[in-house]
Amino acid sequence: MASNQEGQLLAYFTAMENQGSIIVRDVPKLDLELYIANYKGRTRFDRLLLIGQSSVPLCVDALKAAVIEAKKGKDVQRYQDAWEYLRMASPNEPETEYDNAWVNMTTKTNKNLAHQLEAELKGYKNNLVKESIRIGHRELGEHLESTGNINGAADAYVKMRPDASTVSHVIDAGKHIIGVLLQKGDWTGVLANAKQIMPPNISAEEITREQPYQRMVTGLAYLGSEKYAEAAKCFLDAGDPIMCQQYNNVASSNDVAIYGGLLALVSMDRDELQHSVLDNNSFRNYLELEPQIRKAVSMFVNCRYSACLEILERSRSDYLLDIYLQKHVSKIFSLIRKKCIVQYLVPFSCVTLGSMSSVFAKRDEGLEAELISMIKAGELKARINTIDKVGYLLVMTSSEPRTAMQMKALETIKGYQREALDQIRRMSLAAADLEIRGSARKGAVGAGILPGLGEMLDDIGGEQNLGIEGTS
């Protein structure tokens, strides 16, 4: 029985891997129930399904929870997806029984409700009451969103905007739109709309209320489009964590702490980290939620790079199960690692490879290959010496400003000379009317001139005899 189930799981994850999912084999530190209790709204299902698709140890539990979660809502498609996955992963669970009655009933009610809402909306439109029209659009949009019609919901939300008469209405519409855009992963759309939920004429009170949400979604959009430095700044500026937690239909304040910390590690140097992460009063509240991030940042600031990497590595599997972070984890980790290596080398003029690998060595791959690739990419200004001392030696290249200046001066003169000659030559050619002309004046200038590209490819054979005799 047990081995049968394992076989099922193996087949399931092979299928998942083929689909392009990231598979996490290690046991994460998070507790599924506690974790999911942190969120509300549609993101709960998304997160459960992602864990079900990725995490080997938590797969069945997560999928079961996803099935239950789906049945709580009105989205039939989600139920079917979750059920399908669960059936593939573990066919013997009681939840794998397909609830046809629920599906039929929900589909029917959904349809009816949609019709009803549309009819109501039509009525409002006839009466020309702006507020009612706006509410009507919102209700229709919310219904469509909860039944899984994301595009329909986005359309309905966008229609809320023309009827918005106060700032709070505009913000409300913006949030709804951003909500669906985030689900679609449309990062540019999120960025454009996020600007609109902080209009310039709102009061200070509203700013404190809206800032966490606005920063959070902007940060997520930057994260999604791999602009880590901008994203880090947004997360670090997210304001009050309690306010932020209200928007746990998008991400929890714990998430903000993790995103902000990791991305700051990627994009900032040590002084900046100290100043804008550790000494940042408002972000400190976030860091209290995720102490390991704070520890990692302070380790980096204190030059204990191996400890920093170790701490992050321990939480890697957790980060890999995060819906927004998953795709970026390996990239972010390797960036941080490279930064650690560069920072580690700053105070030295030469380092033995042995002492470096005691700090940075990984189990499976050699450090030398990594260093070589970093040197080739220009990320590390160093050279390797494989001869002297025991083992290999990494020598930092010292910049010689004087030589560099001399070389640059001579280079500039040569460049100027070359360019000036070339310019004069071209002017002379133009003056002597010697330019090659295209199809507009085909055949007007001597032999060897080809017409435009299109014709050129057609009759290239015919042109072979033109131009250069005895030169090729």
Binding site: I384, N385, E400, L434, I449, L450, I460, L466, T471
Partner: protein, 486 residues
């Protein structure tokens, strides 16, 4: 005969002040050439008959034009049968080596006929012809900055008959002027201050018409000449001139495409990588389509994957054959390993020979070299050629290793100053060309027309401005008039 001799020897005038004054010199020279033309027309037979005696008295440097007329009479329409051709050949060489560049500006079409005949390679042995032609071109224009039809003939002859060395002084010059660009010809051809394009033109007869195809062909030939001398950097610069030739209306020439193909290969030899050509977007597109295999080869060259380079090279063999680039491709393949070794200097300061052997593969065999000694000799050759700055040293335990030295040399303050001085001198030479160009553009018809238009527009703008007009009026008017004096 005496009459002929007196006409031939009438110029240059002996009076010093005439020689010094360019106006009188010009006048005298013009009259002299007219007389000579008449002489050549009417007394050709006398000139041929008494050529022995006449050549005794006419000096090639002092009486350059007269000497030229004598030669012309003997050579055209064909070699005079009454005179041994060795004699004529000898006189041609004497003239080409000794004529006075200044005086010969008046030689016109006669000189061009002679240059063309020599350039055809039929009347003199090619090695002598190249020598003579190169000397003559530089005598006529010591700066070597204008391209003439003789340049093309010289390049062709030198490349085809493999007499390259003698042509190098001409080929090495930077061409910045082209015949046909000056609107007018100088009044006094003899003026030593004249830029070359003012006296070398179709009007003066010192060059034939040069078309754009000829300009391109010259650049391509220069590139190939440098290739045959294995001077890759110069070859690349020459080919680049053809590749970046100005085009209009999405035009492109077959010669440009040919030059581009060679340019890509030569770029690999001189720089070790492919650089995007500087050309208009449509031309670059054409290059991309027609030079596809070359770009693919260049991309493979820059990678560590030797098998890809080999397969690219082998797969496109018909293309290389058709374009006549097999030799260059072979050079590229052979240079793959040295460039790989060179790329190691970005990663290592010291590396042992066995490690180099492991890490670099020969593109000729697709495998590492067999013996460490082979790697060592490869590196030695690179060091000797100046491609690599480094030394091979030996460890205590006998392993040999390569030490990469800094590629930038640290110059002492004095060396640096000298280097800068040299550069400044070069810039001063350049200034000559710059001033000339500036003058030419400043006096060109289009510019003057535009400048006149601009000044007119300014004036009319002033007139239209009502406030300015008002102020001008106030200035004229005496506002105090009519007021009772206090």
């Amino acid at each position: 005969m005496d009459q002929c001799a007196s006409t031939l020897l009438a110029f240059p005038p002996t009076l010093a002040n005439v020689i010094l004054n360019k106006e009188s010199y010009h006048e005298a020279a013009s009259v002299h050439t007219q007389r000579l033309a008449k002489l050549l027309k009417e007394h050709t037979r006398d000139l041929v008959a008494y050529s022995y005696e006449l050549f005794q008295v006419v000096h090639p440097t002092v009486n350059s034009i007269s000497y030229l007329v004598l030669l012309h009479a003997l050579m055209f329409p064909s070699f005079a049968s009454s005179v041994p051709s060795e004699f004529i050949q000898e006189k041609i060489v004497t003239f080409m080596m000794l004529f006075d560049g200044h005086q010969s500006r008046y030689g016109g079409t006669l000189l061009l006929d002679l240059l063309e005949a020599v350039g055809s390679g039929r009347i003199l042995p090619p090695s002598v012809a190249v020598d003579c032609l190169a000397a003559a071109i530089l005598k006529l224009d010591p700066s070597g900055t204008i391209l003439t039809s003789s340049h093309l003939a010289l390049a062709k002859l030198a490349y085809e008959t493999n007499n390259i060395q003698a042509a190098i002084p001409v080929i090495d010059k930077d061409i910045v002027f082209y015949p046909g660009m000056a609107n007018e010809v100088a009044v006094h051809l003899c003026d030593p201050e004249l830029p070359p394009f003012m006296y070398i033109s179709r009007v003066t007869g010192l060059t034939a018409n040069v078309k754009s195809a000829a300009v391109l062909e010259y650049d391509l030939l220069c590139g190939m000449i440098y290739c045959s001398r294995r001077e890759w950097k110069k070859a690349r610069a020459a080919l680049e001139r053809a590749v970046s030739f100005p085009t209009k209306e999405t035009g492109c020439s077959k010669i440009m495409v040919d030059a581009f193909k060679k340019w890509v290969l030569v770029g690999l030899l001189s720089e070790g990588k492919y650089l995007v050509p500087q050309a208009s977007s449509s031309t670059a597109k054409t290059f991309g389509v027609l030079g596809g295999p070359y770009i693919a080869l260049a991309m493979a060259f820059a990678s560590d994957d030797v098998s890809e380079l080999r397969s690219e090279a082998e797969r496109n063999m018909p293309v290389w054959l058709e374009d006549g680039n097999v030799g260059l491709v072979e050079e590229v393949i052979a240079s793959y390993q040295p460039w790989r070794v060179l790329s190691l200097q970005d990663i290592y300061t010291k590396i042992s020979i066995p490690e180099i052997r492991e890490q670099t593969k020969s593109a000729e065999t697709g495998a590492p070299l067999n013996k460490d000694e082979d790697v060592e000799s490869l590196i030695q050759n690179m060091i000797i050629e100046g491609m690599l700055k480094g030394v091979i040293e030996k460890n205590d335990d006998g392993t040999k290793f390569l030490v990469f030295l800094s590629s930038t040399t640290n110059l002492s303050e004095q060396e640096f100053a000298e280097e800068i001085q040299r550069a400044a001198d070069r810039l001063k030479e350049l200034k000559q060309v710059f001033v000339t160009t500036n003058q030419r553009l400043g006096t060109s018809r289009e510019y003057i027309r535009w400048a006149v238009k601009e000044t007119k527009r300014d004036k009319s703008g002033d007139a239209q401005d009502p406030t300015l007009g008002f102020e001008a009026q106030i200035d004229d008017e005496d506002l105090m008039s009519g007021l009772p004096s206090i």
